[in-house]
């Protein structure tokens, strides 16, 4: 069965994108923060959040292949469709990082090389390119911008290496997103088990790569915003966030498609299974959020607590609020078997924690970028809606390009008769 991307849906998403575009233009014009940091940080919050959802989809798809799971095959095209946003999402991220490299924004403090050097030539100080140096020489004075901690990280956090890493992550992820999609369409056309078995190998390779790079990418892209701070758990925390965000989108989209009559073979058990994932990964996220928080709270080491001090001093309610929202809503409302089979419950909880996880990304990025000045206003709302429109537009276009139910897969029949 083919998915029809209706004119009405196109119109709605275009209106959302228009709202986003207006919010971006007006936001950029009215943004009074240093280097338009608020505008750019908003681009990054939304750019990363939706990118992470598609990356979560890619990961989940690879997980299905690697474990040879059958239960989600009836919904495979939904996962695939969501993963296809990764190309657009990557482009947005690259634009954001490039803007940082060219000093259009100042979200990454370490991208400013002046913090890396202890001394500066006094004569060159007023010029656009002052001469910095590590050793004191004639005519050099102490550089007041020098940051001892950031300078110590310069072996890892320097622009060439950052770009090499970023391009590798994005390149390989996009390669696999494209590969899985192409092979899935090929499998539809030719059937058999050949592609299925080979997919398992590809998925295993991807998962190993992803295991490392999902952590390092979150250090490079998000943790380095709070340059002074570090947490070894951070990669996992971001990863669980992207996984649960994807699960929410997946559940909501599957329910929507099913209600529209597109997925005739999807029954309550599929929705129940997807709901279980949403429930379980919410706990994984909570667990990692809390583990990171508690260990830092307990040891109270100055170089570790900075992250939480900024957040608790200026954003106390939002910061703890999203923790409890993202934890308690799934916990209380989805704990019973019947609730996970009730579409209404899943939709309500899904929408609440979708916003919750958007705010979680917001909390990761904003306090580091804007200090105590971040606040939720029309710009944040408008841009979030705009990116949502873009995300849905890309995903729906991907849905419409291939049969919305897989035609050929060794486990398709098994999945169609899922019963739990």
């Amino acid at each position: 069965m083919d998915f029809i991307f209706t004119k009405r849906a196109k119109l709605i998403f275009s209106v959302l994108m228009l709202i986003g575009f207006i919010a971006m233009v007006l936001g950029y014009a009215t943004d009074t923060s240093d280097h338009h940091n608020r505008f750019w940080a908003n681009i990054f919050v939304n750019g990363f959040f939706y990118f992470a959802i598609s990356l979560g989809a890619l990961f989940f798809l690879a997980l299905q292949y690697a474990t040879e799971a059958s239960y989600m095959i009836a919904l495979k095209r939904v996962i695939e469709g969501i993963s296809q946003y990764i190309f657009v999402g990557s482009a947005i991220l690259i634009v954001f990082f490039a803007a940082g490299t060219f000093h259009l924004h100042h979200v990454y403090h370490w991208m400013d090389i002046s913090v890396m050097y202890e001394f500066v030539m006094e004569a060159t100080m007023g010029t656009p390119h002052p001469e910095y140096m590590h050793e004191v020489t004639d005519g050099a004075i102490k550089n007041v911008k020098y940051d001892h901690i950031i300078a110590g990280k310069s072996a890892y956090l320097n622009q060439p290496f950052f770009w090499i890493r970023t391009l590798i992550y994005i390149g390989v992820w996009c390669y696999f997103a494209n590969l899985f999609r192409k092979r899935s369409l090929l499998e539809d056309a030719q059937g058999g088990t050949k592609i299925h078995f080979k997919n398992m190998t590809y998925a295993a390779i991807f998962l190993v790569f992803f295991a490392f790079t999902s952590s390092t990418a979150s250090w490079d892209w998000i943790m380095s915003i709070d340059t002074h701070w570090f947490s070894t758990l951070f990669g996992w925390y971001v990863f669980s966030g992207m996984w649960v965000s994807f699960m929410i989108v997946f559940v909501l989209m599957s329910i929507w498609l099913k209600n529209k009559g597109y997925l005739p073979n999807v029954n309550k058990s599929h929705i129940h299974d997807a709901g279980k994932w949403m429930f379980a990964i919410s706990f994984l996220w909570t667990y990692l959020w809390f583990s990171q928080f508690m260990l830092i709270w307990y040891s109270n080491i100055p170089e570790e607590v900075t992250y939480y001090i900024t957040r608790i001093e200026h954003y106390k309610w939002l910061f703890f609020g999203i923790f409890f929202t993202n934890f308690l809503f799934p916990m209380i409302m989805l704990i019973s078997r019947d609730a996970k089979r009730q579409i209404g419950y899943l939709i309500v909880v899904g929408f609440i924690i979708f916003v919750g996880h958007w705010l979680d990304v917001y909390m990761m990025i904003m306090p580091g970028s804007l200090g105590s000045h971040a606040h939720l206003g029309w710009m944040e709302l408008g841009m979030a809606l705009g990116f949502l429109g873009l995300f849905l537009f890309v995903v729906f276009r991907a849905f419409s390009k291939a049969p919305i139910s897989v035609v050929n897969h060794p486990f398709l029949d098994e999945s169609n008769h899922l019963h739990i």
Partner: protein, 175 residues
């Protein structure tokens, strides 16, 4: 014909048993129980077994564990003997909550898990030293057995045997 007759029908395949059970139930035969080495998928609604209430028990045990852990820590760490651990505030319970979470969690899981296991053992009466109640030891290996009491629905043993034979059973025994 005595009233409290029990008929056992043995099968060598779970799917044969499931298909047979469906046919028998459609004819108004009430199947008391099925003995099997593993859970037969989809048998519960066929023979009219209700959803287990073990999950509700687990939830209650978990709540008990959580409350006990919190009450215990409140008394030990705040009321009875406030200890200064790493300079953490110890005057009020809420200030120390993060430190109490792991223990509360562990204790919740401990009570839920143990309570659930014990409830299961007691409810099924499979405690250590208790004689097994399955009629055929083979049902722990590769055989599947149905237990039927003809008196439950007023059918003669002969009629029932005839019906059972149609479902591909390998052994019918009366006890």
């Amino acid at each position: 014909m005595k009233d409290n007759k029990t008929i056992y029908a043995m099968y060598d395949d779970d799917m044969t048993l499931l298909a047979g059970a469906k046919e028998l139930v459609a004819k108004g035969i009430y199947i008391r129980d099925v003995f099997s080495p593993f859970p037969i998928h989809g048998i519960d609604p066929v023979i009219g077994i209700k959803q287990t209430r073990l999950a509700i028990c687990a939830f209650i045990y978990g709540l008990v564990g959580l409350s006990l852990a919190l009450a215990g820590m409140y008394y030990f760490m705040i009321v009875d003997w406030p200890m200064n651990i790493g300079g953490k505030p110890n005057d009020f319970f809420y200030q120390n909550i993060p430190a109490f979470v792991p223990i509360s969690f562990e204790f919740t899981v401990l009570l839920a898990a143990h309570g659930m296991a014990l409830t299961y053992f007691i409810r099924n009466w499979t405690l250590p030293g208790v004689t097994a109640r399955n009629p055929y030891p083979e049902t722990t290996n590769d055989r599947f057995v149905m237990e039927i009491h003809p008196s439950d629905f007023g059918m003669s043993v002969e009629d029932l045997t005839e019906e059972l034979q149609k479902t591909g059973t390998i052994l019918i025994e009366e006890r």
